[in-house]
């Protein structure tokens, strides 16, 4: 039984891990700077925000849904948090706390809206979150007067650059969130329901549960991770802007999919998502270091996403054989 579980684990997650290791080796050979401490720290910082959003996105995709609004909602969160943190009426520590809470609250509200509308009127989340993508972007531009907000308290800005044993704090936050997400998915009733609903919603409903509640909760949770990611982005850039986060939804979805989570729901893992985010980060960084231009990099990343999905169809077949 153990052996079978290990084989299954190898197929699902270790395969992606192996791909990541191979990529790192190739880049180290062709770009000596790749393996330097400074560059690795740089990669850790770069992937943190995408990782956090992808953790939330994993819940939504496991349910067979999608959230296209995360990038715009992130911009809205930064704008709201930026206005709060620069409010001179508040003492600095209180301003920071309020900014963090308001960012999370905004993300949460947007996520709840996505989930509620999707479930209440049984509309596909693709459409609902596409609407939210526009609403949140518009709201961010409106609230900020389409201006960038800066001059955050220096205590806040400084935290963004601090490290613990060489690891940037925002990366540590991302890893903690991945582990928390993994725990929730594998060990809690909520996680069990996410997998079960993604596999067969009707069977779950007829077993005496209300799947809508869990689905709304998953979208809300995704919104919370966006709110957190917004604060992390502000720590990194030291600005808030209504035009941040364009295309972030695609990176998050790519991380989840490369990580082996099925777009039709019910199958996937949090560790896979993290490895997926690492692969995207390493590719972006490594291809730049070996001298590839922006446009070519974009094409390569796109090809990798398609390749990952193709590999996943084989992986699904093999894992069925293992389970049989």
């Amino acid at each position: 039984m153990r052996a079978k579980n290990i084989a299954y684990f190898l197929l699902r997650e270790a395969g992606i891990g192996l791909a990541l290791v191979v990529l790192c080796i190739i880049f180290s050979i062709f770009a000596p700077r790749f393996a330097s401490v400074a560059n690795l720290t740089n990669i850790f910082t770069q992937i943190s925000i995408n990782t956090v959003i992808a953790v939330g996105m994993t819940f939504v995709i496991l349910l067979g849904g999608i959230d296209l609004s995360v990038g715009s909602v992130l911009a809205l969160c930064t704008v709201v948090a930026g206005l709060v943190i620069t409010n001179e009426a508040l003492p600095v520590p209180l301003a920071i706390v309020c900014a963090v809470l308001s960012s999370i609250a905004v993300g949460m509200a947007c996520g709840f809206f996505n989930g509620f509308v999707t479930e209440r009127w049984k509309i596909h989340s693709f459409i609902v979150t596409l609407g939210m993508l526009n609403i949140a972007r518009g709201a961010a531009l409106q609230i900020s007067g389409s201006r960038t907000i800066f001059s955050f308290p220096s205590a806040f800005n400084q935290f963004g650059t601090e490290t613990l044993f060489g690891m940037p704090y925002i990366f540590i936050i991302a890893v903690v969130l991945v582990l928390a997400g993994r725990f929730v998915l594998n060990r809690t009733v909520f996680g069990r329901m996410i997998f079960a609903i993604g596999n067969n919603e009707e069977a779950v409903r007829l077993s005496g549960h209300n799947p809508s509640l869990f689905k709304i909760a998953a979208f809300t949770l995704c919104g919370v991770t966006v709110g957190l990611a917004a604060i992390m982005y502000m720590l990194r850039l030291n600005i808030s802007s209504p035009i941040l986060g364009v295309g972030f939804e695609l990176n998050a979805i790519a991380a989840v999919v490369i990580g082996g989570t099925s777009m039709s729901g019910g199958k996937g893992s949090m560790v896979g998502t993290f490895l997926g985010a690492c692969i995207i980060g390493v590719l972006n960084n490594g291809l730049l270091l070996i001298g590839m231009g922006d446009f070519t990099r974009q094409m390569v990343t796109g090809a990798i996403i398609i390749l990952a999905v193709i590999i996943d169809t084989y992986r699904a077949k093999i894992s069925v054989q293992v389970a049989a």
């Binding site: 997998f195 079960a196 069977a203 007829l206 005496g208 389970a323 049989a324």
Partner: protein
Amino acid sequence: MNEAPNIFALKGITKQFPGVTALDHIDLDIRQGEVHILVGENGAGKSSLIKIICGIYALDEGEMYYQGAPYTPQTPLDAIKAGIRVVYQEFNLLPFLSVAENIFFEQLPQNAGLVDFTSLYRKTQSVLDEVGLDVSPKTKVEQLGVAQMQLIEIAKAISSASKVLILDEPTATLTPKEISRLFEIIDRLKRRGVTIIYISHRLQETFEIGDRITVLRNGRKVNTCAIEDVTVPEIVTMMVGKEMGAEYPFEASIQPGKEIFRVENLQIRSSHAPISFNLREGELLGIAGLVGSGRTEAMRAIFGADPKLSGRLFLHDREIHVASPKDAVQNGISLLTEDRKRQGLILDMPCYVNITMTDLTQVSARGLLHHRAEVSAAERLIAELSIKTPSVDKWVRFLSGGNQQKVVLAKWLFRRPTVLIFDEPTRGIDVGAKFEIYTLLWRLAAEGKGIIIVSSDLPELLGICHRIVVFSNWKIAGEVERSDFSQEKILSLAYQEYINHTPLPIREEARP
């Protein structure tokens, strides 16, 4: 009857599914231009045989000859090209297209790559006239009623020059007037030389149109005979088999106690009369009726799976309010659905996940799951129901039909309900597993639970129930106590609302 040449010759057809032999060395000849009736209980192998003939299933053993030549269809298209058309029980219509487009979907008349609508509508009108359906060819299919859709399916099948027409339960949704219309069409097709294979549970009607009849039981052919040589009771005996007594356990020592559950004036559709019935402790209550008589819909409404217009439910004489399956489950009512794969199980998750799904509070604390508690609960039920699975981690997809059904049972036993509603609990599972399920039903009855069994398998209901409530056209046509059980009585109640209270047209020799 003079012997026409065979259009089909099937020799030693065998088809295995995991855990079940669906067809076991079937030999069958179909004569050119005859109406050949195929009957058998659910799971007897009729559908599997049809699916093999029309290229949906590959056969494991055996040979087929069609018009004298070996016939090996790989896909349904091969069968269509060979002139074999099937009208299935379920509709395969495109709801948002017109009647005309649906009928001629595979062969739209074209003019320079564009659809020639003038000729399409003209051709459609003539086919519609032939089946006697009075709708415009331009009508969208979604606007039609069920019976009209059935006739569209038939129109679609006869629109092309087919040589063999297979009708799978074509009259399940038709009214007597439409049925006699259908029989006229069948007669006309027969005179045109079309061979018809006709599957039906309604034995009486098959005697009106059939030339020969083949009875299948448990994947084997029992017999083929000319229709004038047999009677309905003889066919029933062949379908059910001789060992009926042993097939169905009945424990006379377990007698129902006081009432535990009552349904009052349940109404699902405004056009139909309200439904009321009750259930007692330790009682096995059968729900009989034809497919489409509202049995399943009534049970789903009671369970809260579908909305109801009105109606009150009482559990232990206390009114309960059920608006969703969640409410029903919390009140101790469970429903084991007809379609276990789509509605009962999460196929790609382990057995233990399926079993504990009905009550995760038993195996969790403050939202955290206790893996060991889950596994031991699942292991207990797997042993109790003797579910054959290598481990609790096995995906349910890989179990046999009978064992999957037992997992469904296990998940509801885990919840410890008061009232269990079973919709077709033994459909598609083999005889051994059926017997085990009946034994389990009796054990639950002995524990004082109330059990409702919806089944199309009448001998099964007659064999195991204390009482049978008969549905007919969305009404309760009557209730029969065990002391009055007879196939004729229940069948005549089941047909009651379809034939305007006139006696069934049972042929003289068919009467006992």
